[in-house]
């Protein structure tokens, strides 16, 4: 085989390994875009604070560890609750007041809040990040023959799949989910049936935020816990949501994983384009299907 062919076509084991790595990144995209899709689909808020809330989740885990000595496993429960509660306060204080206004106001408000949160953390903790080690139970790696798969990464894929499917199930297949969807369609009628719609909306926002924080805790041991971690990923996640179809839960999950894979392949064949490929796909999808791959046309 000539030399250039070796470079153009990586050997099969390496390709498998790259697919798996792409899947891991896809797991983060899926979890984050899931929260965004829930919030947009049910509340009609374009939540630009989502990245900051993801960062808060990671920082919360770090606070719990360095201040209270609480490790990874308690953080996995506590951090989403704390950050979700902060989200609820934010919804009560700010978002509720602009619920009836155009989308653009919500976008500006959440974007502004994201900048404030990120700036405050950068001021307090610097930009290069805090160390957070992988919990001892998940250290080490499995040799799969074609690659060395870190145990923690395998855990991330598993955890993310479970979280995604559970969320989808709650919203699409349970009575609570039915109330939520009904409240989105016609809040007045649902309220007339005796359901507290404002509370439902608040709790849904809190739930979406908690999902972001959970992703943040999962990310803490492999990426740096640092203020910019959210703003770096949020733009990509928005592209994922747009590709999947704004507000479509399953669309967010599938396109999250799929785009992780595509990005992974780009890193092998043309790494220079790896941070633009998702946006090129977004542009293409918008041209062909403006409502996104799984979205319903408005």
């Amino acid at each position: 085989m000539p030399d250039w062919l070796h470079i153009a076509i990586p050997p099969a084991p390496l390709l498998f390994a790259q697919l798996l790595v792409g899947l891991i990144n896809g797991a983060f995209y899926a979890m984050l875009s899931l929260g965004l899709a829930v919030i947009f689909g049910l509340l009609n808020i374009i939540n630009f604070t989502h990245g900051a809330q993801y960062m808060l989740g990671a920082f919360c885990a770090w606070f719990l560890l360095s201040w209270l000595g609480l490790g990874y496993w308690p953080s996995l429960i506590i951090a989403p609750i704390v950050v979700g509660a902060a989200g609820i306060v934010m919804e009560r204080l700010f978002l509720r007041r602009i619920a009836k206004l155009d989308h653009i106001y919500g976008l500006l408000l959440t974007f502004g809040l994201a900048l404030i949160i990120e700036g405050a953390f950068r001021q307090a903790y610097g930009s290069s990040g805090q160390p957070y080690v992988i919990p001892p139970e998940l250290q080490g790696a499995q040799n799969l023959g074609f690659m060395f798969l870190p145990t923690y990464r395998a855990w991330v894929i598993g955890a993310s799949l479970v979280i995604c499917l559970a969320t989808w199930f709650v919203i699409e297949r349970t009575r609570l989910g039915a109330y939520l969807r009904a409240a989105t369609e016609n809040p007045v009628l649902v309220q007339a049936l005796g359901i507290n719609v404002p509370r439902l909306v608040t709790l849904t926002y809190g739930g979406g935020v908690a999902l972001a924080a959970l992703a943040g805790v999962l990310a803490a041991p492999i990426y740096q816990v640092r203020p910019q971690m959210g703003s770096e990923i949020i733009i990509v996640v928005f592209a994922v949501v747009v590709i999947g179809g704004m507000g479509s839960i399953m669309g967010a999950i599938i396109s999250g994983f799929a785009l992780g894979l595509i990005e992974g392949m780009t890193k092998v064949f043309y790494p220079e384009a790896s941070n633009t490929v998702i946006f090129m796909i977004m542009a293409l999808v918008l041209l062909v299907k403006p409502a996104g791959l799984f979205g319903r046309a408005a």
Binding site: P10, P11, L14, A17, Q18, V21, G22, I24, N25, G119, R122, G126, S127, S128, G129, Q130, P131, V133, I134, A141, M147, F148, P150, Y152, R153, I222, Y223, Q224, R226, Q228, M229, E232, I233, G264, K267, V268, P271, E272, S274, N275
Partner: protein
């Protein structure tokens, strides 16, 4: 008659001004142009502003009877933003000198602005040796370190220790390209070979794909031609994917103290790196760093220490020639040896390189460290002439031959 007389006086004044090239404005302004908010903010950023302020305060706050003022801005690692700020500073805001200039692509862009306007820039944070190579400018100095010195430090040390086959993970912009190029040259000159490379976009969170490519290359050494947050992520994730456990070694080609602080010694121990400054080297460095720490709650990086040295040397030259005229000040600076708390017997070469000793450090084991910021042990001192020697000569038009 009257008009003619006025014109003559005006002409005389102009001539006098030109001859003396005095400081015409009310203040001498120094601009700190840095990454204030992104992946390089901790190695320069507000710490560099603080270092510049310390230099001004130590100088006495005035030069030639004029107040010294510090201004600062965030270039966001974008060359166009950096160049636009530099242009505004020079043209409208009366800035006389710009320093820090972390991020090579920004520094190269600002250097072109400075060249066109004959203004002084003292680059501390950027690394690319092109600043004093093919893009060299008569009124700029590359102060703290460059990619040639890093290659001659870490690169040469690693090859001599048996690391003779390399794979590069390279930040895909001016800096990464220069660092890979200069290190490759040193590797080859020492009998090693380069098996491959991968160019990674700046500010990447996940390096696992690139690390797997490095693993597949079977190179003995994975050279990290990146910096700041990118280096931190690479090293952290390399541990996860068993790069080191699998027998390959990492070579961090540009690692700052702030990166080690963020990584923690558990992950970073044993890493060799080249710097021009470490706070805990002697009484002088400790004394200065203590003052810096009191203001910022962090130990200084070499970039921040370099900003202090650069501002001090600039003010000394301005005082000596009583002028802020770029070429005049630069002539004086190039004729004056540099001696401060971090630089001993440094001199500015004609191409704009500050030639100074560099140090090869090794990161301590957790058991060797007394606490936060106690991270390095000195392995070797590389004399300036050796550290800044370009293996393939210099393309800078300012130097002949």
């Amino acid at each position: 008659m009257r008009i003619a007389r006025l014109a003559a006086i005006a002409a005389a004044l102009t001539v006098a001004t030109a001859a003396q090239a005095q400081i015409t404005q009310d203040t001498v302004k120094i601009g700190v142009l840095a990454d204030m908010s992104s992946l390089y903010a901790d190695l320069g950023g507000s710490g560099s502003v603080e270092a510049a302020k310390m230099a001004v305060a130590d100088f006495g706050g005035t030069v030639g009877g004029k107040k010294i003022e510090i201004v600062s801005a965030d270039h966001q690692n974008k060359p166009d933003t950096g160049a636009a700020i530099a242009r505004q500073w020079f043209d409208q805001d009366g800035v006389d000198m710009i320093t820090d200039l972390t991020t090579s692509s920004v520094a190269l862009a600002v250097q072109e602005v400075a060249r066109a306007k004959n203004k002084v820039i003292l680059v501390s944070g950027a690394a690319s040796s092109d600043l004093t190579g093919k893009a060299c400018a008569p009124t700029s100095v590359h102060w703290t370190y460059d990619t040639v010195a890093l290659a001659n430090g870490t690169g040469a040390a690693v090859v001599k220790a048996g690391g003779d086959s390399w794979f590069f993970i390279t930040a895909d912009y001016a800096f990464g390209h220069a660092l890979e190029r200069d290190t490759s040259a040193v590797v080859k000159a020492n009998g090693g070979k380069v098996l491959g490379d991968v160019k990674v976009p700046l500010n990447t969170a996940d390096f696992s794909s690139y690390l797997l490519q490095a693993q597949a290359s079977k190179a003995k050494i994975v050279g990290l031609a990146n910096a700041g947050g990118d280096t931190i992520n690479s090293i952290k994730q390399a541990a996860e994917f068993g790069i080191v456990a699998g027998g390959q070694k990492l070579a961090g080609l540009l690692v700052f103290l702030s990166d080690i602080h963020s990584l923690g010694l558990q992950t970073a121990q044993g890493l060799q790196l080249t710097e021009s400054f470490y706070w805990d080297m002697n009484d002088e460095t400790r004394a200065w760093s203590k003052r810096f720490f009191e203001k910022t709650k962090r130990e200084p990086t070499m970039n921040q220490a370099g900003v202090y040295g650069a501002v001090t040397a600039y003010l000394n030259a301005v005082k000596a020639v009583n002028s802020v005229d770029g070429p005049t000040v630069m002539k004086k600076m190039k004729a004056t040896p540099i001696n401060d708390f971090m630089t001993k017997n440094g001199h500015i070469r004609e191409d704009g390189t500050l030639v100074r000793d560099m140090y090869l450090f090794e990161v301590k084991k957790p058991s060797e460290s007394k606490g936060p910021w106690d991270y390095y042990k000195l392995i070797a001192t590389i004399p300036g002439e050796e550290a800044y020697k370009r293996p393939n000569g210099n393309e800078c038009p300012l130097v002949k031959g």
